[in-house]
């Protein structure tokens, strides 16, 4: 009976929360401040016309142009110039800037209607059985052609669609480097997929390409975690009956030794920034799941904090490994808390409303992304980002299904997450202002994504 009253009170609170949320969102609309500032107003205008290929290379230009455009657009670094606003003639090499036809002089691009700051152009050809890309980036606002070139480079790969995408991504990565952006080319997303009939760990490129099975345990294998240096993958598997932590080398692909505590459950949660330790949650020393740190081989177990409630998902601040964010049920429904690595100074980050789970640190160490049912029914999670110092937060998904497990990309402005719509759970990426949402997976159910740095 008492429980029912509490439950009803919860619902009443939830209704109140909805009213508050509605009021807050209208205020927010006036404030129009993104927690993660994507600097929309200051983004340079980048023109990326379609490239053409000579000879056999032309048949691979559709995937090439798609990959080049989306890599640059999805980076969040640019305002993309619409193709309809571009001049009629597109240069294919610097010598085309000879004046005459509209498009063959810099002001044709810098002026209206395209108002371009930067132009990416070039072409592909077939050379020695490979595809070769000649790519340039020009600052079209320069007065002299001689000072316009920002980038000019040759890229080669295999003469097929994948090779065409690869040279496009490498070109895009070089363009992004010129703007100081990390870029996502070469980064890998690890995730759990049930497409074989068992939950296994898979990997894919940042844009959903190259989806590859990593584990073959034919059990329940999930919760992948990738080390900051990109060399190790930890995950949790029922391969031995009870949930245990396994460690794989991403270099050799082999299983590495990891000593599991004798406990009903051990689950991997996060590597420390130095990649030398693993944060786990385990029932090793309590009848409640508690937070521990171990060496990467499972030795050196050290408990962090103590409570008589389930505690899960510890994540280390990448800029200050003395601070953790974690999820605890100590005040009822799970909420986000921070604490020091010695277990002291526990503070709640979220308001206590709903259920707040799946914290992920931005590489800046100042923001987190997480999933929250705030204002919604249990299970109805949306992606939020929060400024840890001020507790200010912003909701990034709205009525897009059940959205969970947001994890930051190495560039700090992208998020990967899962969204369950109907019965199907798939992996999506977006910018941290909630724009540029892209679905990366379609086969089976795919969840628990984590984003690993480029390793080469």
């Amino acid at each position: 009976m008492k429980k029912l009253q509490i439950l009803l009170a919860c619902f009443r609170n939830m209704r109140l929360a909805l009213v508050v949320a509605a009021a807050a969102s209208s205020l927010f609309a006036q404030g129009e401040r993104n927690i993660i500032n994507i600097e929309t107003g200051q983004r340079p205008a980048l023109a990326v016309p379609d490239f053409r290929g000579s000879g056999e290379a032309q048949s691979h230009m559709a995937p090439f142009n798609g990959a080049l455009f989306s890599s640059l657009q999805d980076s969040g670094q640019f305002t993309m110039v619409p193709k309809t606003a571009m001049p009629l003639h597109v240069p294919q090499q610097p010598s085309d800037f000879k004046g005459g036809e509209q498009g063959y002089s810099l002001p044709d691009w810098a002026g209206p209607p395209s108002n371009t700051n930067y132009l990416a152009f070039g072409y592909t050809a077939t050379q020695n059985g490979q595809i070769v890309l000649y790519g340039w980036l020009f600052d079209v606002r320069q007065a002299n052609l001689s000072s316009a070139q920002v980038l000019g480079k040759v890229y080669t790969s295999t003469l097929d669609d994948q090779g065409a995408r690869t040279v496009a991504q490498q070109f895009a990565a070089d363009i992004l480097k010129n703007f100081g952006a990390t870029g996502l080319v070469g980064t890998k997303i690890y995730f759990t997929s049930d497409r074989t009939g068992h939950k296994e760990i898979w990997s894919m490129d940042y844009d959903g390409g190259n989806q590859t099975q990593v584990t073959f345990y034919k059990s329940i294998t999930t919760f992948p975690v990738v080390s900051a240096d990109g060399t190790k993958l930890a995950f949790t598997t029922y391969a031995n009956g009870r949930p245990q932590i396994y460690m794989h080398s991403l270099i050799s692909g082999r299983k590495l030794p990891y000593y599991n505590q004798s406990a009903s459950m051990n689950a991997a949660s996060d590597f420390t920034p130095d990649s030398q330790h693993l944060l786990i949650y385990s029932t090793a020393g309590s009848s409640f799941s508690q937070i521990y740190m171990t060496n990467v081989d499972g030795g050196g177990l050290r408990r962090i904090g103590s409570s008589r409630s389930p505690e899960v998902e510890p994540k280390v601040n990448p800029k200050n490994s003395g601070i953790l964010v974690f999820v605890s049920g100590r005040s009822g429904f799970p909420q986000l808390y921070t604490m020091n690595a010695d277990g002291l100074d526990v503070a709640r980050l979220t308001s206590g409303q709903g259920e707040a789970v799946n914290p992920s640190w931005n590489p800046d160490g100042q923001h987190i992304a997480f999933a929250w049912t705030r204002g919604f029914e249990p299970g109805n999670y949306n992606i939020f980002v929060m400024d840890v110092a001020s507790h200010q937060f912003q909701q990034l998904t709205h009525a897009e299904g059940r959205c969970e497990n947001p994890v930051w990309a190495p560039d700090g402005i992208h998020l990967v997450y899962s969204s369950k719509r109907g019965r199907s759970t798939q992996i999506w990426t977006m910018l941290a202002d909630g724009t540029a949402k892209r679905q990366l997976t379609t086969q089976g159910n795919n969840e628990k994504p984590v984003w690993g740095k480029a390793t080469n």
Partner: protein
């Protein structure tokens, strides 16, 4: 049938004819004294049908089937000729010349049909063998393993949302489960039970692994308090990784918020 029957009335008339013709011959001889050739002697008298022609009763008497089990019935059928009185012993009593009667002997019984007619009394017997119904065979050798008992008699328990509190209904179930488990564990040293904690799909997978572990542990602690040996109970949390059903409805959520007790080899 009618050919073989010789009516007593007809045989009586035949003898009257013989007497009359013999008298006629005698009177004629006395009237005329003329010497006449004596007539040929009468043919030798036909064998008298008199008493000797009374046939003995003939009986057809069967029991079908002749062997029954106790409680079943047999059908007696009979047909008697050349008799006027018919009866069957063993409680059947007087009967007609043809007939049938269902009998329920409780033990092997010989029924004797007696038929009495002008030709005498004839009897015929049939025996109905009664075997008492076989006692039920001994129960099949018990192949019921500890695993079967646990699967059948140890019931799941259910939880409220985000809770590992043992509800009243779960206490009753666990109390009954404890009885079964103590008995099974006492008789079978090679069995143990995995207490599997499960959650509905709404919480996060990470939190549910911890919550499912609490649910399994809570049930284990309760059973141990009731005397179930702790070392025979092992907890496993499946979180929400092993749902019983996948509908987005409370009835399904409730089914998934449960502990299952799975037998396992020691």
């Amino acid at each position: 049938m009618s050919k073989s029957r010789i009516s007593p009335f007809r045989s009586g008339r035949a003898s009257a004819w013989l007497f009359a013709s013999a008298l006629l011959v005698f009177t004629a001889a006395c009237g005329k004294k003329t010497p006449v050739q004596p007539p040929p002697p009468p043919p030798p008298a036909a064998p008298a049908p008199a008493a000797e022609t009374q046939e003995r009763p003939s009986i057809t008497f069967t029991a079908e089937p002749s062997s029954i089990e106790k409680g079943q019935s047999a059908m007696l059928r009979w047909q008697v000729s050349n008799a006027t009185e018919f009866s069957i012993d063993n409680g059947v009593g007087p009967v007609g010349s043809t007939g049938q009667r269902q009998v329920y002997p409780s033990a092997t019984t010989t029924y004797t049909l007696s038929a009495t007619g002008p030709g005498g009394t004839e009897t015929k017997s049939v025996t109905v063998n009664v075997s008492s119904a076989p006692p039920p065979p001994p129960p099949a050798e018990s192949h019921e393993s500890s695993i079967d008992v646990i699967n059948r008699d140890v019931k799941d328990i259910y939880f409220d949302y985000d809770s590992n509190t043992i509800r009243d209904d779960a206490q009753a179930t666990l109390t009954s489960n404890a009885q079964v488990l103590k008995r099974v564990f006492a008789s079978d040293p090679n069995i143990l039970v995995n207490v599997e904690g499960n959650c509905d799909e709404r919480g996060s997978a990470e939190y549910n692994i911890a919550l499912g572990d609490r649910r399994a542990t809570a049930a284990k602690e309760f059973l141990v308090q009731l005397g179930v040996p702790a070392e025979r109970l092992r907890t496993i949390s499946y979180g929400k990784e092993k749902p019983v059903c996948t509908d987005a409805a409370e009835s399904c959520y409730q089914q998934n918020r449960h502990d299952h007790f799975a037998p396992a080899a020691q």
